[in-house]
């Protein structure tokens, strides 16, 4: 059944369901009982009477405030402010900030705020050169905003002097029963410290009183001026102002756009710890997953958009795994509980390997909380979390596009670390801890580290880790985070003799002696060695929690840092001399007698005459690899093709023979790309990498062109033109497919759209870890080659580095071409060549 046929059936079913239902909502002449018309006019008139002559100050209902717990603000303690005479006194320093959802209006200064009893209203204000006309209201309980009104600019400017405008906007200011330090409305300022660190946050009431507030986490803590605040009766809501990034820094801007809410600490969530269990050690024995039943897991780290979020809050998730008894992986899994106050986990198993996870970022403070809104946003678009690895030293890793979460057991007998790349030293000293005790940070390991071979996969088969194995790794004597691509030497069991050299991020050589030992690893060692010899490259990833991961065609090696149950017993065996080992001479020198891999994910086979090419992918921890093999029927020989590293989380969505090569499109993981394999040279060309919204599912190949005809407009604009290869790609203006493609026109200066396409190529180059990328830009009779150099040792180039490269390319294009008198229609004769 095609999509269209299914859509027609769906449409019919939807209409059938809808038509079968007759709404019970009353029509207007039945006077809908629940429709409440707010008495705007009456409210406006009444409020105008009340506030007449008193200006904006009466928005704060000072008459009511006179009955409050009025204190001498000059002597107000910063730690013992009573906010409710009937409630226990709460030390203000223990109160917690939360960050709410972003406002639907632009951040601004000079605005006014009002509390209606239910909502925190933001009215008017200045937006750089002009005044802001919108008013919006924030409901702190629901963490939601709504637009109140669109005011004319002049009306917005008059808000401060004309509160009736605010009333007209639908806000009836009220005064809460009690005030924070006698302040109902005020301004919050945070002055950065001399060293650029976050300064104290001070609330200055509109009547002059001052209260020093707990500092908000440093992500927002550099400084503010003019953020407006209102006391709601049980919380202080703050929004807007000028964002200051530190003394001497010229980067002041409006924002951020999120409200900050200061509340007394809520009752701590109750965490039911799992039963005490003896966790399996990294013994080399297969882990019986039933042993992990009921383990309480601690949130270990969150990576968000590639950044490691400091785990500065205690967090626990109670998992129940494999309740029905032993099951093959993937496991049915349910989990309840919470992971810190960030993630109010209601995690359920929707299907094997799929988890739903709702998050409530508003519950607490801390760096993780400050990023929680972003985290929720990523989760919202994910709809699926992949449960990737359950390590012998138990790490539970959940990954989704732009998110990576690591959990470790709460009991610590085998927990490695945690190792925090970003220890929470920058948090305010008074940062309150709630919930169960955190495992706490440990120093980043320096110097030689012991790595344990935790998991090995050869040709898709997980090999039992039945032999002692230790690698001593020297990592520049410093942080393994910053300098990891150096050298590894030593022994890895008796299977694999040392001399492991990691000369760059992706190059790996490794000599092995499988004849020296026995055991299951040894039994697979010959195959492993064969695979290694055929791998001219492998992807290597090193991260503190997981140790070292090596991915190559047909093998995966996963190491974890440090825990060995017993000392290695074979390290005293002298390694054999080098000349004992046969010399590998590269791919093809070690013919295989059978297909080197089992079935590959998303496998595609293409007939190239004497040889058939089979391509597929497998998704590993650091990235996806496109792997495959060729079979030459004449020679009856198999070969492993050059693997190609794609973006993390990618899967092959589509592959097609295009002339003398195979074109593949991979997406997922928030990144997508086109890669083309040329069997005759066993080489790959990177066509395009794209970061952002993507999708593409239908292609056709006509007249030497690969033409995408379903997908996002950005991709739809990319044509793959074979005859001109390697010029190959034609980037042109972004346009929707339903629009006619113009005939090539006469020359023109590059447009912004075209520069955008070019910038995608720069991204692709940077993210594929090449040293030098050459962009050839042809514009009619003018051809310019622009060479951009990257540092391929940097695994993930910073945005600044990519931006700098992009700027350099665009500047060259502009300086070389924009001065020319290119007139005429805009065509698509505009090409880029990417030469990795």
């Amino acid at each position: 059944m095609t999509d269209d046929e299914l859509a027609n059936e769906l449409s019919g079913a939807l209409h059938a369901v809808a038509d079968a239902y007759e709404p019970t909502t009353p029509v207007p002449d039945e006077t809908p009982a629940r429709v409440r018309v707010q008495p705007i006019v009456l409210a406006a008139a009444a409020a105008m009477i009340v506030v007449a002559g008193l200006g904006i100050a009466l928005l704060r209902s000072d008459d009511d405030a006179a009955d409050l717990d009025v204190r001498d603000t000059a002597t107000s303690s910063t730690t013992s402010i009573a906010v409710d005479e009937d409630a226990d006194t709460q030390p203000l320093a223990a109160w917690l900030w939360t960050v709410g959802s972003p406002a639907p209006i632009e951040p601004r200064g000079g605005h006014e705020v009002a509390w209606s009893g239910d909502e925190f209203a933001v009215l008017g204000g200045d937006l750089g050169p002009g005044a802001a006309g919108e008013a919006a209201a924030y409901d702190p309980d629901a963490d939601s905003w709504r637009i109140l009104i669109q005011l004319e600019v002049e009306a917005a400017r008059s808000l401060r002097d004309n509160p009736a405008v605010a009333v007209t906007a639908g806000i009836e200011p009220v005064a809460p029963a009690h005030a924070l330090g006698n302040i109902l409305y005020g301004t919050v300022d945070a002055t950065p410290l001399e060293d650029g660190g976050p300064g104290p946050w001070t609330l200055t009431g509109d009547d002059g009183g001052q209260v020093e507030l707990p500092n908000i986490p440093d992500r927002y803590g550099f400084g503010f001026r003019g953020a407006r605040a209102a006391w709601t009766g049980d919380a202080l809501v703050v929004w807007g102002g000028i964002y200051d990034c530190g003394p001497g820094a010229n980067c002041a801007s409006f924002g951020p756009n999120e409200p900050f809410i200061l509340r007394p600490p809520a009752d701590e969530p109750t965490v039911e710890p799992g039963p005490e269990v003896d966790l399996p050690m990294a013994t080399g024995e297969p882990v019986d997953l039933t042993e992990l039943l009921g383990i309480t897991w601690v949130l270990y780290s969150i990576e968000l958009d590639g950044e490691l979020v400091a785990d500065d809050e205690p967090g626990t998730i109670a998992f129940e795994i494999n309740q029905a008894g032993p099951e093959p992986w993937p496991l049915p899994l349910t989990a309840t509980g919470w992971a810190g106050c960030d993630i109010d986990a209601a995690m359920v198993s929707q299907a094997d390997g799929q988890l739903g996870w709702s998050a409530a970022p508003s519950a607490c403070a801390g760096e993780a909380s400050s990023l929680a809104t972003l985290f929720v946003d990523r989760l919202a678009d994910t709809e699926q979390l992949n449960l990737l690895e359950l390590w012998p030293t138990p790490f539970l890793e959940l990954t989704a596009p732009d998110i990576r979460i690591l959990l470790v057991p709460a009991t610590s007998n085998t927990v490695v670390g945690p190792v925090s790349a970003n220890p929470p030293a920058t948090l305010p000293p008074s940062y309150p801890e709630t919930g169960p005790p955190s495992p706490g940070p440990t120093p980043v390991p320096t110097g030689p580290q012991e790595l344990v071979l935790a998991r090995m996969v050869v040709d898709g088969t997980t090999v039992t880790n039945d032999e002692p194995r230790v690698i001593t790794m020297t990592v520049n004597g410093s942080s393994i985070l910053s300098d990891w691509s150096t050298s590894v030497e030593g022994w890895a069991g008796c299977d694999y003799r040392g001399d492991v050299t990691i000369s760059s991020a992706i190059d790996l050589t490794w000599d092995a002696r499988p004849d020296l030992c026995s055991g299951e690893v040894s039994a697979y060692a010959a195959t492993f060695l064969d695979r290694l010899r055929r791998a001219t490259s492998a992807s290597v990833n090193l991260s503190p929690p997981l140790g070292l991961t090596v991915l190559g065609p047909g093998f995966e090696l996963h190491f974890v840092v440090g825990v060995v149950q017993s000392p290695p017993t074979t390290t005293t065996t002298a390694p054999p001399p080098d000349d004992v080992l046969p010399e590998a001479t590269g791919p093809g020198a070690w013919p295989l007698l059978a297909a080197p891999f089992g079935p590959l994910d998303h496998e595609h086979t293409f007939d190239f005459g004497e040889e058939t090419i089979t391509l597929g992918h497998y998704t590993g921890v650091p990235s996806t690899a496109i792997v495959g093999y060729g079979y030459n029927a004449t020679l009856d020989r198999w070969r492993v093709i050059q693997p190609r590293t794609a973006f993390p989380g990618n899967v092959i969505e589509w592959a097609m023979r295009t002339g003398d090569r195979v074109s593949t499109f991979l997406d997922d993981g928030g990144l997508a790309g086109l890669w083309t394999y040329r069997p005759s040279t066993d080489s790959w060309d990177v066509a395009l990498g794209y970061d952002g919204s993507y999708d593409m599912w239908d292609f056709r190949y006509e007249n030497g062109r690969v033409i995408p005809f379903s997908g996002t407009p950005e991709f739809a604009s990319i044509l793959y033109r074979d005859p001109n290869y390697p010029a190959g790609l034609v980037g042109s203006r972004t346009r929707r497919l339903e629009e006619p493609w113009p005939d090539p026109g006469v020359g023109h200066a590059p447009s912004l759209d075209e520069l955008f396409i070019l910038s995608l190529y720069v991204d692709a180059a940077a993210r594929n870890h090449v040293d030098t990328a050459t962009f050839t830009v042809r514009l009619d009779d003018i051809t310019r080659s622009i060479v951009v150099e990257f540092d391929s040792a940097v695994h993930d180039p910073s945005d600044a580095a990519v931006d700098a490269a992009r700027t350099a390319v665009e500047a060259t294009v502009n300086s070389e071409m924009s001065g020319r008198n290119f007139l005429g229609s805009v065509g698509d004769h505009y090409e880029f060549t990417f030469v990795p």
Binding site: L14, V17, A20, R34, T712
Partner: protein, 161 residues
């Protein structure tokens, strides 16, 4: 100066009368529950009516609010249920559906809220992708993806039955 459209009360009545049926039914398809659908429409009316004078396109605005409220209610209900269990269609509506339509309806409830909403907006409300993107606050490309993958999920759900 920007002029603000100020519909007369009769226009509101007209709007209410015209939109009530389609929007309640759309909310029913999003939430799977007549009660939640009625509630979503009521809530939306309460929010929109007081600001009607300031709204340029009241029909579109009302539809946006109905969809947003319905989605919130559906998500909250799913969370309270503790799982993505299918919403049960009231018995009174069963009689009007044939077996295949019932299968499709049941399969639709197995989809994620976001994909289900995208399918409803496209194949019942008949909105173009651009308007769905505005309603769901995402890029048009994301809507295309939601529709494509929603149909794929639906096909898979149907094949599982």
């Amino acid at each position: 100066m920007r002029s603000i459209r100020r519909p007369a009360e009769t226009e509101w009545e007209q709007l209410y009368r015209d939109e009530r049926g389609p929007l309640v039914r759309a909310a029913l398809l999003i939430t799977g529950s007549p009660e939640m659908a009625e509630d979503a429409f009521h809530t939306a009316v309460e929010r929109v009516r007081p600001r009607l004078d300031d709204i340029i396109r009241p029909g579109a605005y009302l539809r946006t609010v109905v969809v947003n409220v319905a989605r919130d209610l559906a998500k909250r209900a799913a969370k309270e249920r503790g799982s993505g269990l299918p919403s049960e269609l009231p018995n009174a509506l069963h009689a009007d559906l044939d077996t295949r339509q019932m299968e499709i309806w049941t399969a639709l409830q197995g989809l994620t809220e976001r994909r289900r909403t995208a399918l409803v907006l496209r194949y019942y409300v008949d909105l173009p992708v651009g308007e769905i993107a505005e309603l769901l606050d995402c890029q048009p490309g994301t809507v295309s993806s939601l529709l494509h993958r929603g149909l794929a999920d639906l096909r898979e759900e149907l094949s599982d039955d």
